[in-house]
Subunit: 305 residues, 2 copies
C-alpha cells in the first residue's frame, strides 16, 4: 500500500459537503435566470444543473487547487464549466435514443420533467455556457493565454476523441464482448477524459507549475478516473436504486461491458485497490500538501453511492 | 434605393462557388479522419458537414475579410468554426423530437442515414471541434486575446440567448399566433445571431478596426440576417422541393410563424427589399471596398434556393 491518508474521513465528508454547497451557489449565479426568455429552456437548464449531484469533478478542481496552494476562488469558474459539460452529457445520455433513463439524481430526467426537444436543447445550450465562463469569468486567472489553454483542455476532453467518442463507443458495443483493455479504453474516453481535465484545468491555473508536477497530477487523474468508473460499475451491481438515486442493475440490463461483467466482482475490487495505490503513489512529489487530493481519492473509492 | 452593386452578379456566383470549394477542403482537413476511432461517429460527422450546403456564413466571413483588406486565410478557421456550429444545429433540428425532417441538402438527414443516437452525438461533438479550431488553428491571428473574443462571440451567438434559444422559442410557438415583432425577435435569435457572429468574427480578425466601422458591419449583419430569413420563408412558400433540397411547404405543415404567414407574400417581399436597402446603406462608410459584401447581399436576397 502507498501512504495511508492522515486526514480524518468524516471531516473530509464535511469538506466535500462544503464544496457541494459552494458549487450550488456558484452554478446558480452563472446560469441564466429562470424567467429570462426563453423561460422554459432556462428553467429546464436550471432544473438539470441544480439541486443534485455529488459534484465530484468540481471537488477534484478544488482539491487540486489546494494541493498547489491556489485559492479556491481561482478555479471556481473552471469547476462550473466542467460541471456544466458533465451535466449536459447526462441530459443527452438519458434521452430515449441513448440510454433511455427516467431517473437521475433521484428525480425525473430532463426529458421526463420537460420533453425530448427541450432536453436536447438544454444540452446544446450548456456547452456554450460552459465555454463562455472560461472566456469571461472575472475570477479566473486574467491571462488570455491561460484561459485559452483551459478552453482547449475542456474541448479536447469533451469532443469526439474524448467524452462524446466514449459515449459513441459505449452505444456501439452494447451486447458485444470486449476484452478488459477495450473496456479500459472506453472508460478512459467516456469518464476518464473529463476527470483528467478537472485536475489539469486546476493545474493550468497555477502559474509556473513544474512539468514533472503536472505529469504527476495527470498520472493521478488517469488512475483515479479509471478506479472511479470501476467503482461505479461495482455499485451498479452491489448497490440499490434508493441509495444510488438512479436505477441499479442498469448496466446488466443494457448489457454494458464493465469490469464486474468481464473479470468478476472480486477481481474488479482488486483492480480498484491497485489503481488507488497508484493514484496515491503519484501524489508523492507533493508531500503533505496533497492531503486534500489523497482524502478525495480515499473518499471516492470507498463511497457507497 | 441605396447604391446599386457594380459587380457583375454572374461573376459573383463564380466567387461564391470558389469559396464553397475552398470551404469543402478546409472543413475536410479539420474534421477527424473517417477511420479514426470511433469510426462510425467520425464518418457521421463528415457525412453531415461535407458534400453539401451553400456555406453562406463562411461567405459572409470571406466577404467581410475582403471588405476590410484581410487575406482570406486569416478568417478560414473562424469560417470553419461557424459552419460546424451551423451544421450541428441542423443535425439536431432535424431530429424526430424537433422538426423531424428526413431530407437535408438533398440527402437523408444524419439520423436517417445513421441513427438518432449518432445524430445527437454528431451535434454534441461538432461544438467542441468548432471551439477547438479557434483555440489552436495556426492560420488565425496569433494573439490569445483575439482568439478569446472570437470564442466569446461564437458562444454568445450559439447559446440559450442566441441560436439555441431561438430554436426553443420556435418549437414553443408552433401553432400559436405571433405578431411580426415577436417573429422578428425569434429570427434574430434563431438565424440572425450566427449571421451577425459571422460578420463580427471576421471584423475581430482585423487589427485596429474603428468602432464606427464595427457598428456599421453589425447593422449590415442584422439587416441581412433578417432579410435572409424572410427570403427563406418566402422560398418555402414559393419554391419546390427539388430546387430547395429540403421539403418545400414544411413551415406551413408545422404551422411555423413566418412573415409570409402573417403579413402575406407581397408585404414580405417589400420587407426584404427595405432590409436589403438598409444593409447596403450601412456599408456606405467602406466605399468601394465593400463590393464583396454588396454582391453577397444582392445574391442572397435574389436567390431561388
Amino acid at each position: 500500500m502507498a501512504d495511508t491518508n492522515p486526514v480524518n474521513e468524516p471531516d473530509f465528508a464535511g469538506q466535500l459537503e462544503a464544496w457541494r454547497v459552494r458549487m450550488e451557489a456558484a452554478l446558480a449565479a452563472r446560469l441564466p435566470a429562470a424567467d429570462a426568455v426563453p423561460a422554459r429552456l432556462h428553467e429546464a437548464m436550471r432544473y438539470s444543473v441544480l439541486g443534485g449531484g455529488k459534484r465530484i469533478r468540481p471537488a477534484l478542481l478544488f482539491a487540486t487547487a489546494r494541493t498547489l496552494g491556489l485559492p479556491e476562488d481561482r478555479v471556481e469558474a473552471a469547476a462550473c464549466a466542467i460541471e456544466l459539460i458533465h451535466v449536459y452529457s447526462l441530459v443527452h445520455d438519458d434521452l430515449p435514443a441513448m440510454d433511455d433513463d427516467d431517473l437521475r439524481r433521484g428525480r425525473p430526467t430532463c426529458h421526463k420533467a420537460y420533453d425530448e426537444a427541450t432536453a436536447i436543447l438544454v444540452g446544446d445550450a450548456l456547452q456554450p455556457l460552459a465555454i463562455d465562463l472560461l472566456v469571461r469569468d472575472p475570477a479566473l486567472p486574467d491571462a488570455a493565454a491561460v484561459r485559452l489553454r483551459l478552453i482547449g483542455l475542456l474541448c479536447e476532453a469533451s469532443g469526439s476523441l474524448g467524452m462524446v467518442g466514449g459515449q459513441a463507443i459505449d452505444l456501439a458495443v452494447e451486447g458485444t464482448r470486449l476484452d478488459i483493455a477495450q473496456v479500459e479504453d472506453l472508460h478512459a474516453r467516456k469518464t476518464g477524459a473529463l476527470i483528467r481535465a478537472s485536475v489539469l484545468m486546476a493545474a493550468e491555473c497555477a502559474p509556473g507549475l513544474e512539468p514533472a508536477h503536472r505529469e504527476a497530477l495527470a498520472r493521478f487523474a488517469a488512475a483515479i478516473g479509471l478506479a472511479f468508473q470501476i467503482q461505479d460499475d461495482l455499485l451498479d451491481v452491489l448497490g440499490d436504486t434508493a441509495t444510488l438515486g438512479k436505477a441499479a442493475g442498469a448496466d446488466r440490463e443494457h448489457a454494458k461491458p464493465t469490469h464486474p461483467a468481464i473479470i468478476g466482482i472480486e477481481e474488479s475490487q482488486r483492480r480498484v485497490r491497485l489503481l488507488h495505490d497508484e493514484a496515491l503513489e503519484s501524489l508523492r512529489p507533493f508531500g503533505d500538501h496533497a492531503a486534500p487530493l489523497r482524502s478525495l481519492a480515499n473518499w471516492l473509492l470507498s463511497r457507497r453511492y
